[in-house]
Subunit: 135 residues, 4 copies
Amino acid sequence: MFELDLRSRKPIYEQLVDRLKQLIINNVLEKDEKLPSVRVLAQQLSINPNTIQKAYRELEAQGYIYSVKGKGSFVNHIMMTDNSAEIKKVKEQLKKQIAEALFLGITIEELEKLITEVEQSVTRGDEDDSSSERR
Amino acid sequence: MFELDLRSRKPIYEQLVDRLKQLIINNVLEKDEKLPSVRVLAQQLSINPNTIQKAYRELEAQGYIYSVKGKGSFVNHIMMTDNSAEIKKVKEQLKKQIAEALFLGITIEELEKLITEVEQSVTRGDEDDSSSERR
Amino acid sequence: MFELDLRSRKPIYEQLVDRLKQLIINNVLEKDEKLPSVRVLAQQLSINPNTIQKAYRELEAQGYIYSVKGKGSFVNHIMMTDNSAEIKKVKEQLKKQIAEALFLGITIEELEKLITEVEQSVTRGDEDDSSSERR
Amino acid sequence: MFELDLRSRKPIYEQLVDRLKQLIINNVLEKDEKLPSVRVLAQQLSINPNTIQKAYRELEAQGYIYSVKGKGSFVNHIMMTDNSAEIKKVKEQLKKQIAEALFLGITIEELEKLITEVEQSVTRGDEDDSSSERR
DNA sequence: GTGGTCTAGACCACA
DNA sequence: GTGGTCTAGACCACT
């Protein structure tokens, strides 16, 4: 379910963050669903609990989950937090990458195809696995 | 012109790479234009020359510029190198970010608007400024 | 084991890259095998760690190894990266060298013998030692 | 006729050496033919004469041409010099690159096709232009 | 302990 | 003057 790549250049905790984000975004983890406890997940993935901790903290900071003392961590999903800053950041990043894509010769049609692809897989509740990344 | 953030988590040389890519993509730096010499730029930004070199080297590896020993570094721009690998990478990243954008509530219409915006500013030779990022 | 030539015109880090490539290609270093750490190798060869790092970084860029921050550097070997650009480059270089070989009087038969020789030694897991080069 | 690439990473004098080697190998410059004088060639290519000098010196050292004081430089072609060292060197280099080619997935058939290709273009007296090289 | 970044300063090769 | 390599030594992030 998590398929961490211990060999990837990307720190494990970041992989966890990204993976969980994906699961939340794609509705695999539903609103208010409880995430596995730090200890359990750590054991499952045979990873240091600190690493899990760090990932959960990061997700909370970004508004994807919320933690309740003594109960655990839960999916936020509707993003009650103030997105505006986040949205602005994502848009800026997107602009940069779109510019790079166009520069590399990717056509607008291809870009739009990408969008509809992603959009469909998201609404279907797919799990679009397109990870790896090994600079 | 460069606005480096020495305190950022993102390495200085990477900031430089991104910035220069932007300038090249947006045609602010034109084909075969000479980049500032390693030492000059280093002095301007009060940064160690080695750091500049690392950035230039990376840009060269990615096909954006070329460097000649006793002469200097120049914009490549026509991308004669085989960039299929680069394209694949960019597409994957775009997919991830589109997914995140949709999750944050950005609509497809907004995404398409972004594309046309970028497309126009690029062909106009604009420079879309929008940096920051202090993770 | 490494036999660096500090006086050669070829940079030390390039010598290292070539040598390690050879070891990987000839299966002396096996898949996922851990390379000596930057510092250890630096001490062994009495060379600055930065130089080793440069070599490792280059090998990573070319897809031969991968490095993970707190863990070490490891052999990639399966070449999952898109190497079409690399292939093209190697082919062009080969053409030049074949032309030179023919000029020097090496016959086509000899060239074909070379190929089968190399092919066999590679599949056998040999290590064909034949360095030097002091331009 | 020379098509130097002033933008290439490869030093100009080396480009000259390679180019002249090619011309000699492909019989475009015939035995005992006089090469253009340093000054003339320098003017033609609008290049510093020192650079030409360096190239000619290198070619002479490698046995491709011979220089007669006061007369000029001439093509050697039959290689009266002792090739054995040169041959050995080329063979070793070839072995390395064949190994790399095989590792990258190039098939033996492709390699043999390369050989016949080169062989034909050489005997035809072609000018196989496959330069560039822009690391 | 691992890789990664950065600095300061030296020296070389090319034009 | 240009890029390129190398050293020595410091500090950071991840495990």
